[in-house]
Amino acid sequence: MVAVSEVDPAALVVRNVEKSFPAPETPLSRRQVLDNISFSLAPGELVSLIGPSGCGKSTLLRLIAGLDSTDEGDLLVGPEPITAPNAERGLVFQDPNLFPWLTVRRNIESGLVARGLLHEKKNEVDEFMRLVGLETFANVYPHHLSGGMAQRAALARALINHPKVLLLDEPLGALDAFTRMRMQDEVLRLWQARRTTMLLVTHDIDEAIYMSDRIMIMTPRPGRIERTIEVTLNRPRQRDSADFLRLRSDILNFLHFAGTK
């Protein structure tokens, strides 16, 4: 895992990444948040990252997005090191963060406007609004939307840039169980339609098993990837199949074990 070769066709390579923040309690010392994180994502892969609160999942995603910089280690998209945010790496937060001053349509367009491509790709906007089922809400302001609709709009807004890698930071965390399951299918549908590489942070073990090709389990203080599990179940997956449940109890056991070590 550590020795990723230069000819690796990975969509994203994370190599020996370290990150610390100033410790809030003692002013001059720093607290290690990420410790020697290494993994890579193959193109079109959907990988989940699970772990207890505060173990550094969001920090890792912000590093990959280019919103923060690493202390040590390399982040590569293809051969290019990540230095700044870029439309190639989309990020969807737990809170949809739609711009409240723009209508749904203008929110979804905003990536194109920001890159000066709106004129060329105008017709794609309609396509994406249909993709997330919001075409009748084109001219509505975000505060009229339900949580699920807002999150769908946020997904469309990130997808319209055709990112090579889509980073999802608990995008469904704020939704109720039913909306959540429906949205999981929706994200899978988008993933299968567009074959975007996705890195999904979640607290929900079922969600991770249901959706991903691979699950990385992080442990806190400092954040490390303790274990990676391949999920080989056939799609579409049955949430109550024996294999599903066995995998689930495996992970639960591991987390319990990891928690009491």
Partner: protein, 331 residues
């Protein structure tokens, strides 16, 4: 559909416009009452003096009767009447009370407090000069306010966005800003050959401070997550400033624009009464110099209408630009 239900709460169902007889009759009755009261009070005055005041009430009675007859053809008219008639009634009663206090009982000393009929006469006799003064005030106000808003927005955005500009700009803002613009009048009149130009600059200065302050705080308090989202969507600095930070700061900016407007009215009136030889402020002090208090009151009435019209206009602009906040703002 789930989707449709989400929109239901935003559909405002207006109550049916009920226009009661009581409300509808209040205006003509109040006007008739004020008219007869006036005729009784002013029985010793020369009739010509109060001619237009009487005519006004006759017209009010006439128009309100015509509207009462027309009301069944237009629901909008009914709604407007139901809404406005109580206010109009109160206004007419206020005129009558004013009439009684001044002309009737002479509680307030004449000539400082003329009755409504005298004020109306001044208003009509001096209408051309008043119109001209209003026009000059408007020109001065608009040029000063526009200048101040542009300067305030530019400096506010710079201070709010760039930490190094904030470092140098904030102390200047904190020291210079709180000085009332009117305190600069003596200096400004010496510095500039034209009183009009220096007054416009003073108005701009008065507007500049609150607009800068509120814009800067709005910009620097832009939610970091909006900026992060925009960055991951490929936004450059231009997009971040003009399409994220400024819209996010717009509610704050409007508070600054309103505060600036209030400050600009004050500065306008003071500047006109000491330096500029035109405008409503000048008219008031000129009329006062001749002890023509009817004219003073007439100018005050025009001023009230003038300022509140401009204020209303700014509210309208705000409501248009901040539609996305609908239901959120309460002022």
């Amino acid at each position: 559909m789930e989707a449709q239900e989400d929109l239901v709460p935003t559909v405002v169902i207006e109550p049916p416009s009920v226009l009661r007889w009581r409300t509808m009759l209040a205006v003509p009755l109040a006007a008739a009452f004020a008219l007869s009261l006036h005729i009784f009070i002013a029985r010793n005055e020369p009739p010509l003096e109060a001619h237009s005041y009487r005519l006004l009430f006759v017209q009010v009675v006439g128009v309100s009767i015509v509207l009462a007859l027309l009301r069944r053809f237009s629901p909008r008219l009914r709604k407007w009447m139901a809404n406005m008639w109580p206010i109009f009634t109160a206004a007419i009663v206020t005129l009558a009370v004013w009439d009684v206090i001044t002309v009737g009982l002479r509680i307030l000393p004449l000539p400082y407090f003329p009755g409504p009929s005298a004020v109306l006469r001044s208003l009509i006799n001096d209408r051309f000069l008043l119109l001209d003064s209003t026009w000059h005030s408007l020109a001065l106000l608009v040029s000063g306010y526009t200048l101040g808003v542009i300067a305030g927005l530019i400096s506010g955005v710079c201070i709010g966005w760039s930490p190094s500009i904030r470092y140098w700009g904030m102390p200047i803002l904190k020291v210079v800003g709180p000085i009332p613009a009117t305190a600069w009048i003596p200096l400004a009149l010496v510095l500039s050959p034209s009183a009009v130009v220096s007054s416009a600059v003073l108005i701009a200065l008065a507007v500049w401070f609150p607009v800068t302050m509120l814009t800067a705080s709005g910009i620097s308090n832009t939610r970091a997550s909006y900026l992060d989202v925009a960055r991951t969507l490929g936004a450059g600095p231009g997009y971040l400033i003009f399409r994220v930070a400024i819209p996010a700061a717009a509610p704050n900016i409007f508070i600054g624009l309103f505060m600036g407007l209030g400050a600009s009215f004050l500065t306008l009136v003071v500047a006109e009464s000491v330096g500029v030889k035109s405008g409503l402020g000048w008219y008031v002090s000129w009329a006062q110099g001749w002890a023509e208090y009817g004219k003073v009151f007439a100018a005050l009435i025009i001023m009230a209408a003038f300022f509140s019209t401009i204020m209303t206009l700014l509210f309208k602009i705000r409501d248009r630009l901040l539609v996305w906040q609908k239901g959120v703002i309460k002022w």
